[in-house]
């Protein structure tokens, strides 16, 4: 059911429609590391975006810093040009609680004040914890309690559903 080509096609179609509906002009695309960047690279090609692809590392903006600490694999964010007044398409792999997107928006707004932000994700799963939701999705799914979904990649992109076993 979750075949990557179909998900990518669906996300592409929804993004194209949203670009028209929301009248995005010369949009800037930003992928969230790591999985979001892989998806963004595909959409970037398909939508013929002209500005270089932006890469966002939200490690310094996470809300669970005091519990999990600094991610040792943090890399610098690379946002091209200015974001002031721009229309932004933000891409992530999986939308789950919404906390990653909150962190990403906080970081983007520290670079400037965009005109619009549209959120596209490959997969939306249940479990939202804050009032944010994606604008464009490849597919929406419901998982059992204790199940996790993960995108692996970049070549080939694949979806992995793991069932977490609770330690006895």
């Amino acid at each position: 059911m979750l075949e990557i080509p179909r998900l990518l096609n669906q996300l592409e179609a929804e993004l194209k429609q949203t670009i028209i509906d929301r009248r995005l002009s010369n949009p800037l695309m930003i992928g969230i590391r790591t999985g979001g960047v892989w998806v963004a690279e595909q959409m970037y090609q398909r939508l013929h975006i002209s500005d270089p692809l932006g890469l966002l590392d939200i490690s310094f903006y996470r809300d669970d810093f005091s519990q999990i600490g600094v991610n040792p694999n943090v890399r610098p964010s690379q946002l091209p040009a200015r974001v002031d007044g721009r229309d932004i398409i933000l891409i992530d792999d999986v939308f789950y609680t919404g906390r990653t997107i909150r962190a990403a928006l906080n970081e983007i707004f520290d670079y400037g004040r965009p005109n619009q932000v549209v959120l596209g994700v490959l997969i939306e799963r249940d479990g939202r914890q804050i009032p944010l939701s994606p604008d464009c999705v490849g597919a929406s799914i419901t998982l059992n309690v204790g199940q996790r979904i993960k995108l692996t990649g970049p070549d080939p992109l694949a979806i992995e559903i793991q069932t977490l076993t609770v330690a006895a």
């Binding site: 590392d57 490690s59 310094f60 903006y61 810093f65 005091s66 519990q67 999990i68 600490g69 600094v70 040792p72 694999n73 943090v74 890399r75 610098p76 964010s77 690379q78 946002l79 002031d84 906080n106 970081e107 707004f109 520290d110 670079y111 400037g112």
Partner: protein, 320 residues
């Protein structure tokens, strides 16, 4: 002194007191995290929310411009609240003990002390005595250590030379009084450079200096050969109690870095100095301001490296 005090039970940084006892992986992690903070200067709002709501106290019992201001800026860019205390303006000059000062600040719910003190071991002492949720960063203690300076130097070297393994580094000047040199030598050897050389007159070298893992030279013309990184140290006139040198001009003639002397090192060698510079004493202005000098890069990098160290020490706060 046990340096395990620096790590919590999970092996993560808790206090940053000395390079000694810290594994290579941790030093590399500090450099990697700092790398991401350098990019932050592109942001309109040059702040990340990592330490929002935390209170950091800069306790400076000794004068400093660069170190204090970069610590202060680093804390502010992590969104912490910062209080900078210079001790000439505080109660210790009225006779309050160090421990009483600490206890009083603890009672104000602070989260971190950044300490500079003229006595070696002062930061260790505070780390041992303070409440378990508080982290302590050593910003220079006596002649013992200045680990954040050493780390910003490592960062600057890596930025330009990329890899440590083939590098020959010369540290020149007043090694005896220099806490910077001690921390640099430990960091360079932990990160695995090919060779660390110290070049100085015998009177400015500590006894058994070779045991630190360095080669020794008393001659600048010989010692600079094949060197990739030249680190000049400040001649610490204020710490010299006896006559260790004939005169400043004599010192400059033998150990001062001039354009001609620099030509002995590799053509792409970089010149570093922790500041403040004594122009015409240990280094000629033409070299300090010249194309091979990275002295101002060191200052800029000081902010990113101190952000990384403060953020890493505050993570999982309270885990002892």
């Amino acid at each position: 002194m046990s340096d395990n005090l620096q790590l919590n039970s999970e092996g993560k940084l808790k206090h940053f007191l000395s390079i000694e006892g810290l594994p290579k992986e941790l030093l590399t992690e500090i450099l990697d995290v700092a790398e991401s903070f350098v990019g932050m200067t592109d942001q309109q709002i040059k702040k990340v929310p990592l330490l929002r709501g935390k209170t950091i106290v800069n306790l400076f019992f000794e004068n400093s411009t660069r170190t204090r201001t970069t610590f202060e800026l680093a804390a502010k860019r992590l969104s912490a609240d910062v209080l900078s205390m210079s001790i000439a303006t505080s109660s210790t000059s009225k006779g309050e003990s160090l421990l009483d000062t600490i206890r009083n600040l603890e009672a104000m719910f602070v989260d971190m002390f950044v300490v500079r003190h003229a006595i070696s071991g002062a930061a260790h002492f505070i780390a041992q005595q303070t409440a378990p949720h508080i982290s302590v960063i050593n910003a220079g203690d006596g002649q013992h250590a200045h680990p954040t300076q050493a780390m910003l130097d490592m960062f600057t070297i890596r930025q330009i030379k990329k890899d440590f393994s083939n590098l020959r580094i010369a540290i020149i000047g007043d090694i005896l009084h220099s806490r910077v040199a001690r921390s640099q030598i430990q960091a360079l050897n932990t990160l695995g450079v090919a060779e660390v050389r110290v070049i100085a007159p015998k009177t400015l070298l500590p006894a058994h200096v070779e045991s630190l893992g360095v080669n020794v030279s008393h001659n600048l013309n010989v010692g600079l050969k094949d060197v990739d990184v030249v680190i000049m140290l400040r001649l610490q006139k204020e710490r010299m109690t006896s006559a260790l040198l004939p005169s400043e001009s004599e010192y400059f003639k033998c150990f001062g870095l001039t354009e001609d002397k620099l030509k002995i090192a590799k053509p792409d060698a970089i010149v570093m100095h922790p500041g403040p510079i004594n122009r015409g004493v240990e280094i000629e202005s033409k070299v300090a301001d010249g194309p091979q000098s990275v002295i101002l890069n060191q200052v800029s990098n000081g902010i990113a490296i101190r952000m990384a160290i403060m953020a890493m020490a505050m993570q999982k706060q309270g885990i002892v």
